[in-house]
């Protein structure tokens, strides 16, 4: 599959923006300036960027607790996202969702999810709705390796297949369900082999290579859009941070993290593009600068926005308040 230089630059820019967002959140959280807790996707940007870049703007995404990157990649406004993490009324969810329930329906992101595997059956329903409305959209569902051991994973995959729904399931296998190793918790090393139990081909890609992710997802999305039914892709990635910010990670071998950092998806694509003359080092530096300026604005917006009034806690429960 050929990927245009323009598309590759778009992928690089998307990853750089995600990294910039996540590093800001890391630092703000460490400084005690964000309430709650956050799960960062630093190191996994290649999956969010690669998968989302294969979508149309009106396609849908179901995300996970580690979902900031999915939002940024799909086009969510980073200022409103940052305001949500600052718990402000100008946030994506008016300060009611926070990091783990962040959503932006205006760009098709139907929510991060605080429950592992919570998004898979919802994604099947979105696929069903797309089919019923004959809208030609596609739903992309992110989940982690931990989700593969929950029942709804199996129910949703089965339903998507028997109804031939336009859903692309993308497993981000970072090897860890919180502090529990995938190699311990899962009966098979590759989540993708479970797809065969539902008549699907499980495709495995290197999630540290965003071009590989993009290629596989693009093919799956095109097939789903054409009525070919669901697809299953497992992207092998390395989580650079802890499960949550502040996680001491005593359970983890530092060599694994070092290996992940040596395979930085942003460096990988940047080096390739520079080598091919598709993107000069100055152009890459400019992408970083632009991302930092965008995040400066996002943080300033989040910081300067007002907190919600306490009684706003009673709003948005129902369409019309009873």
């Amino acid at each position: 599959m050929s990927i245009s230089a323009e598309k590759q630059r778009e992928l690089l820019r998307s990853m750089i923006r995600i990294r910039a967002f996540e590093e800001r959140v890391r630092d703000l959280f460490a400084a005690g300036r964000l309430p709650g807790f956050v799960h960062l996707s630093i190191g996994q940007e290649g999956v969010a960027a690669g998968a989302s870049s294969a979508l149309r703007s009106d396609d849908y995404v179901l995300s996970t607790h580690r979902g900031h990157g999915h939002m940024v990649a799909k086009g969510a406004d980073t200022a409103r996202m940052m305001a949500e993490l600052f718990a402000k009324r100008t946030g994506s969810c008016k300060g009611k969702g926070g990091s783990m329930h962040i959503a932006d329906a205006s760009v098709g992101v139907l929510g991060a999810n605080g429950v592992v595997a919570g998004g898979l059956s919802i994604a099947a329903g979105v696929g069903l709705s797309i089919k019923q409305r004959r809208s030609g959209q596609v739903c992309l569902c992110f989940f982690g390796d931990g989700a593969a051991n929950r029942g709804p994973f199996h129910e949703a995959l089965n339903l998507a297949v028997i109804w031939k729904l336009p859903v692309v399931f993308v497993c981000e296998n970072n090897g860890w369900a919180s502090s529990t190793a995938h190699r311990y918790a899962c009966a098979v090393p590759d989540v993708a082999v479970r797809a065969a139990g539902y008549g699907l081909r499980g495709v495995i890609v290197n999630g540290m290579d965003t071009l590989e992710v993009y290629g596989a997802v693009r093919e799956a999305v095109e097939r789903a859009r054409a009525g070919g039914g669901p697809a299953f892709i497992e992207a092998k990635v390395v989580r650079w941070q802890g499960h949550y910010e502040g996680d001491p990670q005593g359970y983890r071998d530092r060599a694994e993290i070092a290996d992940g950092k040596s395979r930085d998806p942003i460096e990988r694509l940047g080096t390739k593009l520079a080598g091919e003359g598709a993107c000069g080092t100055e152009q890459i530096a400019e992408m970083h600068r632009a991302a930092q300026e965008e995040m400066d604005r996002a943080v300033a917006f989040g910081e300067s926005s007002p907190l919600p009034a306490p009684e706003e806690a009673l709003e948005d429960l129902f369409a019309a308040q009873q």
Binding site: G125, S129, P152, F318
Partner: protein, 323 residues
């Protein structure tokens, strides 16, 4: 007026709403065959299999998929087959459906109706007899509807399907074959409006589902002794029509709360709390409750009868409060 069974009335509501709005579709187990209660029988022939979706036995997927469809422009009417099986999909109901509008700051509508065949039916035992409605009243973000007559069932189901919020619609299994008058013309019953099923001056008996009929039987017996019970059916547990209940209690000054659910932590306990907290001064006697005993539903008929509230229990409770 013509008479329909509750199953026929529900079926009519589904036909009318599916005819009116192409976004309405049915999803659940055994819908095309229409077993075991007959409500959806023949609807696939009328509307096509694309709108009457038989699913595998996958409760989490039924409800999760309904949510996904509801937030992207469709109006699913899901069927839990037996309300007991919602336990296999509690994440989808409690964490997802009930919260998605709120935690996303009002970004999405959730026009989703979940039909819940509920309650005891002779000998169905522990996994097919429960009355779990209190769990969902305790979950902010859900509407909980529980009709007792065919006309109420039809009018409330139509309103539920047209709404923009998730509704758990409890249908008592013993009432599917019960007949009642149902108007030919379209009637939409607003959620949160109680109905006085029998006027009376001496005591208020508030009851839900099948227990409305048990309460009406009890009221007939009490009437022979000159005690006139007013039977109030809230029809919706959330939103709940406090004004109607309080008006009745202020009039009668005595109240008995009747429900089929296991007693401890049941919805009736909340009703008692509202009365005591808000209109204690209106009472001339302590609030009494009639509910099931706190055990799983046993199979053997004498055991089941012992566990379930009986008409005589309601009569006894009323005699105690009217002294």
């Amino acid at each position: 007026m013509r008479k329909l069974t509750m199953a026929e009335a529900l079926r009519e509501a589904l036909i009318e709403e599916m005819t009116r709005d192409p976004r309405v579709f049915l999803i659940g187990e055994d819908l095309r065959a229409g077993v075991p209660f007959g409500v959806t029988k023949g609807l696939a022939e009328l509307f096509g299999e694309d709108r009457v979706l038989d699913t595998p036995i996958s409760e989490a997927a039924i409800i999760g998929a309904s949510l996904g469809a509801a937030i992207t422009g469709m109006r699913p009417v899901a069927d839990m087959h037996f309300a007991d099986f919602v336990t296999c999909a509690m994440d989808e109901v409690v964490n997802q459906i009930a919260k998605v509008r709120y935690m996303f700051g009002g970004q999405v509508d959730v026009p989703l109706t979940l039909r819940m065949p509920t309650g005891s039916v002779k000998g169905a035992a522990a996994h097919h007899s429960q009355s779990l409605e209190a769990w969902f009243v305790h979950t902010p973000g859900l509407h909980v509807v529980f009709p007792s007559t065919p006309a109420d069932a039809k009018g409330l189901l139509k309103t539920s399907i047209r709404g923009l919020d998730p509704v758990l619609f409890f249908e008592h299994k013993r009432l599917y074959k019960m007949s009642g008058e149902v108007p030919e013309e379209e009637v939409l019953i607003p959620l949160g409006q109680a109905d006085v099923k029998r006027p009376g001056s001496d005591v208020t008996v508030i009851a839900t589902g099948w227990m409305v009929h048990q309460a009406l039987d009890a009221a007939d017996r009490l009437s022979q002794d000159g005690i006139e019970a007013e039977v109030v059916d809230p029809r919706c547990l959330a939103p709940f029509d406090k004004a109607a209940l309080f008006a009745s209690v202020r009039k009668t000054t005595r109240v008995v709360i009747v429900e089929e659910a296991a007693r401890t932590g049941a919805f009736g306990a909340q009703v008692a709390a509202w009365i005591v907290e808000e209109i204690f001064d209106a009472l001339d006697a302590p609030v009494r409750r009639v509910a099931a005993r706190d055990v799983p539903m046993p199979f053997s008929p004498p055991l089941e009868e012992y566990v379930l509230p009986q008409v005589r229990d309601i009569v006894d409770a009323v005699r105690q409060v009217v002294g």
